[in-house]
Symmetry: C2
Subunit: 337 residues, 2 copies
DNA sequence: GTAGCAATTGAAATCGATTACATTTTTGCT
DNA sequence: AGCAAAAATGTAATCGATTTCAATTGCTAC
């Protein structure tokens, strides 16, 4: 078995308390610290973190609960969280919920058992509504999604604004029949839908928003069917990367192209959106910043639990690309360039 | 503070030992178990995992050390590992090394301090060479990359075969001047290069392989420059998703397209490879299976440490798409279809 | 020389569970 | 009914560190 603190103490000829202080931050004479470090290295001593956590009563661990790490949005966020966490001397436990409230509950329970310092969480709408963050022994920072105002710290995109920006852009390009795909499990979907409706209403228009399961497959199915309807929209907005992917696949399968047959735009600046055709117009989210900010909020709340609940709302950036070039009818008598 | 086992014992009118057994798997009468569960629920009792791990001396935790979780290959693998782990009642600690040997060493030390049951690791070439897995207190399963034979359990792609398959395919399509991009930090790059060279040699040809840093940026720079050289290749192979992305971007930036100006093929069936143009020909890796297999190997070794070192080699699947359609000169008198 | 004080060091308690061992209760069998 | 064996329960040791509190040491000042 590996060396314990007692062995180091024996080897260095001091007490275990001195070893603990020498390796940590207690007051120890330089000579002894040297001897202890020597002995520890000699024996290949590794402190047992379980023992340390048990005794010291803090775990230096944060939980990160996301719906699916395969979604590049969460991947990027999680990378930012981890970078920030390890920099602050904390470890991260990563959990995937698959948008499943049962799994969310299970992982929250696990976080309690781990006695984590805090949790960064992107809950489903149902869980967000039901969540009572002060019922847990740790603070919760929500990312991407949020619950009732003032419920917990949160860092989210300005979803209404971003959706409205997309709509305004499409309107400016001459599109009038705009459809929208929105995820039906998160607050994000609802908010983006609200911005979508509001922007259209501001122009005296109405759009058709459809709420679906947040998977590429669902989007592909719905859009394929939608395209076959008699009056199909002339532009489509997808409220996240997965839905955008499904929509694109449906277009390709139907032999249609963007913007010729239908303008396409969406959320999340994933790698492929810049590569297909002349590029897909998207709202780019400050993914790394979201993760880093969430971690910072968590750390500052741990530092001072008395802080009032804060919500950080970050703006997205509209990246205009080829998939939303001007509507044919808006190009005037000169036709296509 | 939250309830401890002692509180539950008091509430149920039994000893702490009984509580431990009732909530775990000891022999307890049905009546008492009922009473204990009742009390535990009443008090919102959550066992302290640090205490449990310290006493029971097993952590039910595995470390997963990858170079970058933003790489979709590792994302998919990690998802598989986590699914398998949680299914086996184990937790996963995820670490990103950025292909940096110092970070690798740091995380291996952290894994020792966590007293993890085992580690799944995709090491850089340097670390793989230097690693002495029996120097740690836990078994190591390597994924994607491996070190000297018999050093540690590993699950890898049949890299030589896969690279050769790509080359054979390109040759069959009529390409003769084939270039290759390979990552310079992992054994994977070397092996794929070996398969590349061997397949060409078997046809009496020589290709030009270039070893570069495994990033899209590096690939883009190198390929941009390569395309400007007087005798550019007529086909290019990229040894992973990042390099393939960089190569594609270089092509697009140069205003070239595939396969018209240059055939392009590579590794990793990432989402976008099926979306751009007529699709990119790639070797698809069984990513989920790799992760699951790694976890299974780890579990079986934990079960029986005496097992001899095993290496599982999985075959990739060649997905032929538009980027490698027949070379113009090979299309005969009929021209394009 | 010694009282007073700060800086080190050590002894022992402690964190919250599991588990070895001891004890009590129940069961099964004649 | 009586006794051995089995099952259930309790007592107390234990995991490996940190931390409290007490003891020691080394200085300074008078």
């Amino acid at each position: 078995m590996s060396a314990k603190i007692k062995d180091v103490a024996a080897a260095a000829g001091v007490s275990v308390a001195t070893v603990s202080r020498a390796l940590g931050s207690g007051p120890v004479s330089a000579a002894l610290r040297q001897r202890v470090e020597e002995a520890a290295k000699q024996l290949g001593y590794r402190p047992n973190l379980s023992a340390r956590r048990l005794r010291s009563q803090h775990t230096q661990t944060v939980g990160l609960i996301v719906s699916d790490i395969r979604n590049p949005f969460f991947t990027a966020v999680s990378r930012a969280v981890e970078d920030a966490a390890y920099q602050a001397g904390m470890r991260v436990i990563l959990c995937n919920t698959d948008e499943n409230p049962d799994k969310e509950a299970m992982y929250l329970r696990l976080m309690e058992e781990e006695r984590v310092s805090g949790v960064i969480f992107s809950p489903t709408r149902d869980t967000a509504r039901r969540l009572r963050p002060d019922a847990y022994g740790f603070p919760v920072v929500m990312i991407d999604r949020s619950g009732p105002a003032g419920q917990a710290d949160a860092v989210v995109l300005d979803n209404r604004l971003a959706a409205a920006q997309l709509v305004e852009h499409l309107l400016a390009q001459g599109y009038r029949h705009i459809g929208g795909l929105f995820g039906n499990t998160s607050s994000t979907g609802s908010e983006r839908h609200a911005g979508f409706e509001a922007a259209l209403a501001a122009h005296g228009l109405a759009g058709e928003g459809r709420f679906i399961a947040p998977t590429a497959e669902a989007a592909e199915t719905v859009v394929t069917q939608w395209l076959a309807e008699e009056q199909r929209p002339d532009a489509l907005i997808a409220s996240n990367g997965l839905l955008l992917l499904g929509a694109l696949r449906a277009l390709q399968r139907a032999g249609l192209s963007s913007p010729h047959d239908l303008a396409l735009a969406g959320f999340d600046n994933e790698v492929w959106t810049g590569l297909v055709g002349n590029g897909l117009t998207v709202i780019e989210q400050p993914v790394y910043e979201i993760g880093r900010t969430a971690m910072e909020m968590l750390l500052s709340r741990l530092d001072d639990p008395g802080l009032s609940i804060r919500s950080v709302v970050l703006a997205g950036r509209l990246l205009v690309r080829g998939s939303t070039s001007p509507h044919p009818s808006a190009q005037g008598v000169f036709g296509q360039p």
